[in-house]
């Protein structure tokens, strides 16, 4: 019997991995089985899953990370919901260990705690995960709203109800990622461009932010340009979290057109 179960598992996996609609006799009852037990399956899979601890899995409706983010809310204990939580978990793992959330800075005399390095890393890791949870909650609280004014009003209410500690956590994380974005972008541009190069910044037609079409590459002007991107980055943190994870490693900075569109 175990070998038969393995056999069935292989068939199920083969069915979902298949790109072509081969002549699989997959009866309608299988479809109804999937839909009827959606809630119990997702509940059992997600129950006590520590990977989902900081993904706002307690909310009844959350935003999907798929584009455009706020047009696709998903309800709790559905297949898209589970998929979204796993996606968030992967994103958090990725960002928590990436240089963009680096919080140890020996060059600028940033304050640090007098604790062993290993414990400090644990505390930082926990801090980042709590901050990402707050960011996801900030995004999710406006689910179902479609006008910027309404969304901001709901988020403002959410922020008003946070404790001082939570508010500080959120503010610090946004600042840390913004600064990390600045540092990484500047390092990348410095390594790829000579001093007299001109950077072209294509603008999407739907852009509502002003941006010059090209920027001469020199330290001062380029710093301003990156800093402008950094402000937009901080402003659109939720979208950028998803985008950054999708881009994988920081080989190519997000183009300004993608950021502004």
């Amino acid at each position: 019997m175990p070998s038969d179960l393995c056999y069935f598992c292989q068939r199920f996996m083969a069915a979902h991995l298949s790109d072509e609609l081969h002549p699989l006799t997959c009866v309608q009852s299988f479809h109804s089985l999937l839909t009827r037990f959606e809630k119990s399956i997702t509940h059992r899979v997600s129950y006590n899953d520590q990977r989902l601890a900081y993904t706002n899995n307690d909310a009844q409706i959350i935003l999907s990370s798929r584009l455009p983010p706020r047009d696709n809310p998903v309800r709790a204990h559905s297949y898209p919901w589970l998929s979204e939580l796993r996606c968030r978990s992967t994103t958090i793992d990725f960002l928590a260990t990436h240089d963009i959330t680096q919080m140890v800075d020996h060059t600028n005399d940033w304050p640090t705690m007098d604790v062993p390095k290993a414990e400090l890393q644990c505390r930082l890791n926990l801090f980042k995960r709590k901050a990402f949870l707050l960011l996801y909650r900030l995004a999710d609280c406006a689910v179902g709203l479609d006008r910027t004014g309404n969304i901001r009003a709901r988020q403002s209410l959410f922020l008003d109800n946070l404790s001082t500690h939570e508010l500080a956590t959120l503010g610090i994380m946004v600042e840390v990622i913004g600064q990390g974005y600045f540092t990484l972008t500047k390092a990348l541009l410095s390594s790829e461009h000579r001093n007299n190069d001109v950077l072209f910044a294509p603008i999407a037609e739907s852009s509502y932010f002003y941006s010059p079409t090209s920027v001469p590459y020199n330290d001062t002007m380029n710093d301003n340009w990156i800093r402008e991107c950094m402000c937009v980055f901080e402003d659109r943190m939720y979208f950028q979290i998803w985008l950054f994870q999708e881009l994988g490693t920081f080989k190519h900075p997000p183009s300004i057109s993608r950021m502004y569109s």
Binding site: L5, L34, Y79, R86
Partner: protein
């Protein structure tokens, strides 16, 4: 139909009961949550297939 195969029946003729199907689905979803999208699509398409 030539080349067709039943997801609930092995080549040896063993039928998979719904309870076991659910356990396997749960395992598949746990391994890869996106897999369910393909399974839903396939079962919907082929459940209504005129070839059946």
């Amino acid at each position: 139909m030539h080349g067709s195969w039943d997801l609930f029946r092995s080549d040896g003729g063993i039928e998979l009961v719904p309870e076991l199907s659910l356990l396997i689905i749960q395992q598949v979803v746990d391994e890869c949550p996106n897999a369910i999208r393909s399974l839903l699509l396939l079962s919907k398409v082929h459940g209504r297939s005129p070839f059946r």
